[in-house]
Symmetry: D2
């Protein structure tokens, strides 16, 4: 039972602090014989990397990942894969004020109370920097998925920034890669650019909602009752820094529906059952239906802002704080590749679990 690990058979354990010498992840249980090299992971890391636009933190990190074990002559060996990224742009001087004061809305105070010691430089272990390793692990998962679930496509995108939601009638998959917000709505992207730039200049920040879709997952993934696929996706997403809400399918709005409206009717297609709608988000009773798996999560605004906020010091003195570090005006942007990575890891893990217990799906229709 490791508190810094997730997954059952494809198990990811991360370590490292924002401004320590390095961060890393170990992946245990990866199937052998999968072609893997650092460049494959770099592709995904580059999407999460800070400093790529004015809408993300200006910290400059190359985020060059090294594979230290578990790969031999270009393929996975089935033994633990250790990934590591050296921290390079760690300006400790930026964080002097934080050593003594607790940032409101930040883990500073809870880490202090619990542990009596904390690496305050850049948030230490509580920093969103940890999510780089999730993205790297997700990159490994994607390589395994290529052979194990070849039809699977996982795509994340932003559907809301602050109070501004996308217009679903503008939804265009190709648009996602064409704007700095990973949003499928070109019009929203244009409006958000103006909105966020103003917030950024005022030293403020804002939250966002990310949606992730997994298309092509086979039916049968998941398990009753506490390892339901939706439970594990919810846990995976809620564990991402700053996430405060998670939804599957209709999510919180499921409360507003009647049973008649909510039940996705079933008909028979040429290749098996077809669902006439997808309120369920692709999961029934904790097990995938074969439809798109759809989830959303809400990312709160960065708590490190330039506006002075009331707080206290370690000695209990009341004071104010301004966080001068290089922070994300909307950390939700960089949460998009993180969300995708978590979904990739969870689905692969359940594919392995499924293969372990069941082999292949045993029920036939028709």
């Amino acid at each position: 039972m490791s508190l810094n690990s997730f997954g059952h058979l494809f198990r990811v354990s991360t370590w490292g602090e924002s401004h320590g010498p390095a961060i890393g992840a170990a992946i245990d249980g990866c199937p052998p014989g999968v072609p893997l090299e650092a460049a494959m992971l770099q592709h995904w890391l580059d999407r999460r990397r800070p400093g790529t636009s004015k809408y993300t933190t200006q910290r400059r990190e190359a985020d060059q990942v090294e594979i230290l074990s578990g790969v031999f002559e270009g393929v996975t060996t089935g033994t633990p894969i250790q990934l590591m990224i050296r921290n390079t742009d760690a300006r400790a001087k930026d964080y002097g004020d934080i050593a003594d004061k607790f940032r409101p809305g930040h883990a500073d105070i809870t880490y202090w109370l619990k542990y009596g010691v904390r690496d305050y430089r850049g948030g230490g272990r509580s920093s969103a920097r940890e999510t780089a390793m999730r993205v790297a692990a997700g990159g490994v998962a994607r390589e395994v998925i290529k052979s194990l679930i070849p039809g699977l496509r996982i795509k994340g995108y932003m559907v809301q920034m602050g109070p501004h939601r996308i217009d679903r009638s503008n939804f265009d998959w190709d648009q996602i890669e064409m704007n700095p917000f990973w949003t499928p709505d070109a019009s929203a992207a244009a409006n958000w650019a103006v909105y966020l730039d103003a917030l950024r200049k005022s030293g403020n920040s804002v939250g966002a909602v990310i949606e992730v879709v997994a298309r092509g997952a086979p039916p049968g993934l998941g398990a009753p009752v506490y390892a339901k696929l939706d439970t594990e996706l919810a846990a995976a997403c809620m564990s991402i820094n700053a996430v405060k809400g998670v939804e599957i399918g209709e999510g919180m709005d499921a409360a507003t529906l009647t049973g008649e409206a909510n039940a996705d009717e079933i008909s028979m297609g040429p290749d098996g059952p077809v669902f006439n709608s997808n309120h369920a988000g692709g999961i029934l009773g904790g097990i995938s239906t074969g439809q798109d798996i759809v989830l959303r999560f809400a990312v709160k605004p960065t708590s490190s802002i330039l506006t002075p906020r009331k707080t206290i010091t370690k000695s209990g003195q009341e004071t104010e704080i301004i966080t001068k570090g290089r922070h994300d005006p909307c950390v939700g942007i960089r949460a998009v590749p993180v969300g995708e990575a978590m979904v990739a890891c969870v689905i692969l893990d359940h594919m392995l679990l499924h293969r372990g217990q069941i082999g292949t799906n045993r029920g036939k229709i028709g």
Copy 2:
């Protein structure tokens, strides 16, 4: 790694099907020396029991819990506590139609595809009946909490039925126990009674949102990064039947806030830090702040309804289905004690984890 278990040190594993001979739960890791008898658990089970009002299923189950192990001369021994409830009112005849057809919105089809066999009687393992054992386990957790975290109070209530939300200005804690919906808003209770009765008579059902508050949890519970307190609460609630969304604090609405609005300012009170607001829902960086822990989850409408819905049979024929069993028009009502129970188990589990790794909080302020 058990798929039907949750918790680390206070570990709950449930078993049993809706219409099998019995359902049960084992609790491993319970501290010894805690006074425990079946009547203490019965108190909580009676709140979840079906058939107590016209707003819940008319299935009649005494839900009498037996303690089969782990208690000697009235106190827990530290060894596994096995709880069991015999199923008594299991009318198998009600479910003949379901043996061959898949109910839209239900786990019927996914269980069939995955396992190739399913106990279709009442949903078998996927039935909400399983939640009775969560409530029983929560009852055990509450007895341990009495000595370990004496000030802790956990209370759940309904804040939304269908599209109808409570008016927070009517919030009255005492009202919760005075209406069949466990809602703190008397006016909402009156309106919902009319609304739900009409839905019930038309054979339809509706969703709901439940909120649970834990007051008096000490600061310091939780852990980075994948065993965050909010992660584990989210997983615990998402694992409840029919839940499709989970929120901590501001939840999905955290996306709409700016960093300035979201950061709960800190001042110094007579007994330590005081937060001037609680957007965080009592958890920062995955660790409790000492404020109220606030979460919400959305329960979808029961999928077993009297309106005919299109579906298919095991042999792939298109057909319609009406589910004639005795079902809940708003299963969210009975989810209230279930949500409370899950929160009790998670908080106790983290209290034990905290004691194991840390002892007591090590950081002092002032």
Copy 3:
């Protein structure tokens, strides 16, 4: 993390006390579609059942196992299988003396010190009665093995009673079922009968060594480094009551060998590699070779004996104790089916793990 569970994917959790209302086991992760009924388990339970000869405890327990969940219409459903045996012949009066005194060599004193409460009736949770549930779980494992590893045969037998070892030149597989000691050496069986009868009459007891062989396990089961097949077999056997030593292959005697003598040479047979000897006991680097898996474990003598032994009371008074209950003169006899069951569970668990991570063996020779 449950302290009363073992296994990864085929996970067994037991509960219950010797003289409580019942004992039981939950099996989570069992593959679906396996024919299973109580009578199949009863076969194995009857081999471990007390009171079958004068060489085992005279306690009379029918040990009738019930299947309470996880089986529907005669086949496993993939959900938790709950097994239960009601305790019937629980004479609490026999144990009055033990409530206050600690039996030397028994868990009485350690349970008391740790928990401050213990079910002293028959040893409570520490009783060898718990092993009945291991045998039942092993029976489930054997039914799964029939389809998953059809060639596998698991056989346990006694190779030493007290200082008296079998003569390996007398080894006869058919003899094992023909004497009350499950020994393959008919001559040893005759001698042990006299030896043990004398010990029994004098109220004394004695230890034994059990050997278990698994023939027909495929190569490739196991994993580096902490889930080695030999590690898990050792843990499984060491967890059996009264076991104090475990050996794989040459075991402790491996220390006496040179590298030249120990290395099992390999040649090429018609169906793949053939090993010219089996010092390794069928496991190299934690992974099965395809040879016989051979292990042994030593069972200490029952500590409940009629000879007076010095001890103390809960209030710290020095005294003597005679344990008058109905105990086994050589509890090693009944450990034979228990050892077989543990081996069956571990091998099946690793078969599922292997299928989960690898699918089927990926390396070919020739």
Copy 4:
């Protein structure tokens, strides 16, 4: 569930191959506030380091450990501690022959069959080099133990080399540090030096038995039934490379004893119960008694020897092999610090588990 991890609350996960860029270990769950620096771990690593005498492999590794996370300003933070050692003296050329042939008695063939790929350089993941990280992790455990169980002393030593056992009447604790075999019997050390030198020169190797004693462990550590302290110690030791047998207390010889001889009588001392003997090895019913915890494990001879042995190639051709690498004539020597480290980790883990579930021992005597 990680296959390369052990421990519950103090959880150690290792990674890395013998001739890869580095090896490492992550420790999750370490209590915060413990002074820790690399030099403290180096002390223990230097004892296991190869090339320190002619009786160990002549591979030259500095084994300089780095702490990459989890320590801030000289104390542990409670977050994962990542330890890493760069491999420096990795002569890949030595291993050309092994790429194609399987060494008898080695994991070569099983890794190949299972995974279809293996890092053959120096045994890759199956190399004893992995044990360096156990020693490093044990070093961390020892620093925590200093504050948590201040009286605990853990000491390992060799009691048998090949067929030659020590004479217990020569036992001298101080002698252990004074000879290259870590044996308490000076006379045995002298004899073994001659014996092993001859074996070494002939290119042969030999096995050994190591004993580890933990003095000063409090009573109450451990748990029924599958997390017994002896179970976990057995698993920890059996997971060490080349170990084939594990014993607690009397071990395999417990089989030879009568109940009368085996039961350690109890009397009352000034500070609580006193046991008049210690056949149990300090553990009853899986829980520590407060006596010395005594265990032994047998290490088989190194399988990499200079004598030609029959084997086959990957293409199935019969051939012979001589392993020319730099190997240990008695790898048991370097297993001494490894065994100590595993015992330290297991005892600390159970101390944390005990504190989590129980707090402090609840039972009083007298």
